[in-house]
């Protein structure tokens, strides 16, 4: 088969055949074949848990497959460690960055190399790395400490790390999941300039439009098996890929009924708060959410969304202004009081804020009602009640775990989000603050989460949806506020994307409408 391809004039840099990899209880890769040509961007598409990362971890030497062979330029190779893989020119940028936060960019890039021998000679290497970064358009300060960098910059460091080691094959595991839209297009430019220079890229993703955008070919995985291998991206449609990925037609537009907005649940007045560095993050935010509606908050990442969610949930002190929930002042009140008022937070950070990673599913779902009968009584926990409760939620929310005793850190993103939603929704919240509830989830899981939110709305909950995915905001929200540098630019009720776009970049609604009026006259 390989010969056939080369007759076609394509050179396979990597060809994997019959790769099988098992984890306790899961067949993560089942006889998977995968080919990578020189100079192409090859997308690896699949839902969460499809086995994409596993397959590429095998190629990058992190995992050893139980069966199968890997050929590199036609020669069979076996990697015992990531180091052996990178020595053969295969570098992987992981979903979770493998960077040491307290060390500088240069130090991170030089880690594990034979040069420099002993003395670090940082100024010299800062310069070398600065030059290489310029060549690929990967702008980052080599002397900066990694913890000071934005996520996008950290990703560039990861890419540089691989390029510095002479990688010809670059594997990017869900590289866009953490990036802002502008950073995504910069990344795509970098990837293109790399393929132009003869390097090959594996682009792992579950976002169809990105795959359509950047890849030359695409291989789809579903439940550990290849459902289609090496299709030319130009020959397929989004709908084809969606079908191959989830095995059923995905409804892209969620069904939504008319909103019946009722009483005011959340009312925020002139709210001010500071960010972690002590700088102003919210500069007089006013907004409100009523019963039975989903109110969206649109904005580019880092304009105060995180701080707003945290102040509303009582996790961050308010420096000025008021928060009223059901007409009661909850400004700077303990979190517990907020919970009693029925405020529920779906945080963006699922692993640190949303769950306790080392605790079991049971422990995580009872975190809000552990002190209420029948689970908690007289200061004691009734574990068998707690387990019944967790089993019920596992069924109701279709959480895929071997047992409810599993630590939640072993769960995939979608299932983790389901654990959080199960906990929050079952507390019957009056007000839900959902921050990026579908970020990093696959198509099937996104649909599930969105349906759950709509069901809550229809049942009369007030929902504030904070998201960076415009598409999601437009399809779910009944009206949308736009935030920019800690201020509300205005409120949109007619899903006018152009207006939202202008507001997201700092134009006030009054200005837009003023200009519109001026032009009309």
């Amino acid at each position: 088969m390989d010969e056939e391809r080369s007759e076609n004039g394509f050179e396979n840099v990597v060809s994997m055949r019959g790769i099988t990899k098992r984890f306790p209880g899961v067949l993560a890769n089942d006889k998977v074949d995968f080919d990578l040509r020189k100079g192409e961007v090859h997308a690896l598409l699949g839902e969460n848990g499809a086995g994409k990362s596993t397959l590429m971890n095998v190629l990058a030497g992190l995992y050893r497959p139980e069966e199968g062979t890997i050929r590199l330029h036609g020669k069979v190779v076996e990697f015992g460690s990531p180091r052996e893989a990178i020595e053969e020119g295969i570098g992987m940028v992981h979903q979770h960055f493998m960077l040491v936060p307290s060390q500088s960019v240069t130090e991170n890039i030089l880690l594990g190399l034979k040069e420099p021998r002993f003395r670090m000679q940082l100024p010299k290497y800062n310069q070398i790395i600065g030059e290489m970064a310029g060549k690929f358009g990967l702008h980052v300060d080599p002397a900066a400490k990694v913890w000071q960098l934005s996520v996008g910059e950290q990703q560039r460091v990861e890419i540089l790390k691989m390029l510095y080691r002479g990688a010809d094959v670059l594997i990017m595991d869900e590289p866009t999941a953490v990036l802002a839209p502008t950073e995504i297009s910069e990344l795509f430019n970098t990837l293109r300039s790399m393929t132009e220079q003869g390097k090959s890229v594996v682009f792992i993703s579950h976002k169809l439009h990105e795959v359509m955008d950047i890849s030359d070919r695409v291989t789809v995985l579903r439940k550990g098996k290849v459902t289609s291998s090496g299709l030319n991206t130009g020959d397929v449609t989004r709908a084809d890929l969606a079908h191959l990925m989830v095995g059923r037609d995905v409804v892209f537009q969620v069904e939504k009924s008319e909103a019946h907005a009722g009483d005011m649940v959340l009312s925020v007045e002139e709210l001010e708060a500071k960010n972690d560095k002590g700088l102003p993050a919210l500069n007089g935010i006013s907004l409100n959410v009523r019963q039975g509606e989903i109110v969206g908050l649109a904005g580019v990442a880092g304009n105060g969304q995180k701080e707003l969610a945290e102040t509303l949930a009582g996790l961050r002190p308010v420096t000025k202004g008021r928060i009223l929930v059901n007409n009661q002042d909850v400004t700077n009140k303990p979190v517990k009081l907020g919970i009693r008022h029925g405020i529920s937070l779906i945080p963006a950070d699922r692993t640190q804020v949303g769950t306790a990673p080392n605790l079991s599913v049971t422990d995580n779902v009872i975190m809000k009602n552990y002190d209420q009968a029948p689970i908690g009584s007289n200061g004691l926990l009734n574990m068998s009640e707690a387990e019944n409760y967790a089993e019920d939620l596992k069924l109701a929310f279709d959480i895929m775990v071997p047992t409810i005793d599993t630590s939640v850190r072993l769960l995939s993103g979608g299932n983790l989000q389901k654990v959080i939603l199960a906990r929050e929704i079952s507390s019957e919240p009056k007000l839900m603050i959902a921050v990026q509830p579908t970020r990093g989830l696959d198509v099937g899981a996104i649909e599930g989460v969105q349906k759950l939110l709509l069901a809550q709305r229809n049942a009369g909950a007030a929902i504030l949806l904070i998201s960076e995915e415009l598409e999601e905001l437009l399809s779910l929200s009944d009206r949308i506020y736009v935030i920019y540098e800690g201020e509300i630019m205005g409120e949109i009720r007619d899903n006018d994307i152009n207006k939202i776009g202008m507001m997201m970049t700092g134009t006030r609604l009054e200005q837009i409408e003023g200009e519109g009026v001026a032009r009309n006259e």
């Binding site: 040491v100 420099p116 002993f118 692993t351």
Partner: protein, 323 residues
């Protein structure tokens, strides 16, 4: 009461803390918490003394002490790194083990008081003439004190400006990242636990062969290993700050001993001389200061985002999720 003498002997006492603290810094920087410092120091003190008594050469004693403590530290390394057990518990166990060995083999050493040779004391020419500082730092100090002065900047340089030092930090901060880059996480952790042991042994030998010569059972170290563990946090895992803390602490220890001596201080009646019960209060002071230092030190660390190696106390398991 001569303040300069108090400060000078503070430097001497502080040198013991210094070696133990920097040793623990190496171990913790690699991600392994070793609470066995006190025991390893005691083992060092005992074996140094015993070997010196047998060979009549304190330098051989010093070497034996380092090797003995280094070897016993590997028990902890095995349990914590290979068996991936709880480092706190394993460290405490190491402490009992090493203390036990020391007390058994130290039996009868106390009576050798006057026959065991000590490490030399020197006055550094020229440097001793610097006003005030010369008498504190460079006059009639143990050779171990001077080695300590050299050792601190070298340790700092090694950790912060060399390739192996960078690997050490990476292993303690993010072992999974180090591992993917081919750095041998387990090997390095074993090695730096060993280094911690060597230095704890050196600290113990410095006590029994120089600073307060002799073998007095568990009183020989009298809890200094625990103080060293506290100093590591105060020093924010930085050898230079460790030296500062160790000398300050050494001086405080001397001060509480000496302040009960004279009947007047600065022309006033000395309450500590007239009421011996105040002695208990005095003994508490260094520990109270440790607590205060720790609070200040860790607030500072939070502000500057430096400090605790992120993987401290966590066993590294290759390929485990959620790291």
């Amino acid at each position: 009461m001569d303040w300069l003498i108090i400060l000078a002997s503070g430097v001497a006492t502080g040198t013991v803390l210094l070696y133990a603290t920097v040793g623990e810094i190496f171990s913790e920087r690699s991600g392994v918490l070793n609470l066995g410092v006190e025991g390893m120091m005691l083992l060092g003190a005992m074996s140094a003394y015993k070997a010196t008594a047998a060979t009549n050469d304190p330098w051989i004693g010093l070497l034996v002490a380092m090797l003995a403590a280094g070897l016993v530290s590997q028990v902890h390394a095995f349990i914590a790194i290979t068996l991936q057990a709880d480092q706190v518990i394993s460290g405490l166990a190491l402490n009992f083990l090493a203390t036990g060995i020391s007390l058994v083999f130290g039996e009868g050493l106390t009576s050798l008081r006057d026959v065991v040779p000590q490490l030399p004391k020197l006055t550094l020419p020229l440097l001793d003439r610097i006003p005030v500082l010369g008498r504190i730092f460079f006059t009639n100090q143990s050779i171990m004190v001077y080695i300590g002065y050299l050792f601190v900047p070298l340790a700092w340089y090694y950790i912060n400006r060399t390739r192996p030092g960078m690997h050490l930090r990476a292993v303690g901060e993010y072992p999974a990242a180090a591992d993917t880059l081919g750095i041998r996480v387990y090997f390095l952790r074993y090695m730096y636990v060993f280094v911690g042991g060597l230095l704890a042994g050196l600290a113990g030998a410095t006590i029994s062969l120089s600073i307060s010569p002799g073998w007095f059972g568990s009183l020989t170290t009298s809890g200094q290993g625990w103080i060293a563990i506290g100093l590591v946090i105060f020093a924010q895992w930085n050898p230079v700050q460790a030296a500062f803390g160790a000398f300050t602490f050494g001086a405080l220890r001397r001060l509480v001993l000496d302040i009960q001596g004279p009947s007047t201080i600065l022309g006033l009646a000395n309450p500590f001389f007239y009421n011996t019960y105040y002695g208990f209060f005095l003994k508490m002071l260094p520990y109270a200061f440790t607590v205060i230092f720790l609070v200040i030190g860790s607030r500072e660390a939070n502000r500057k985002r430096i400090g605790t190696p992120a993987a401290l106390g966590l066993p590294y398991i290759r390929g485990q999720r959620g790291l």
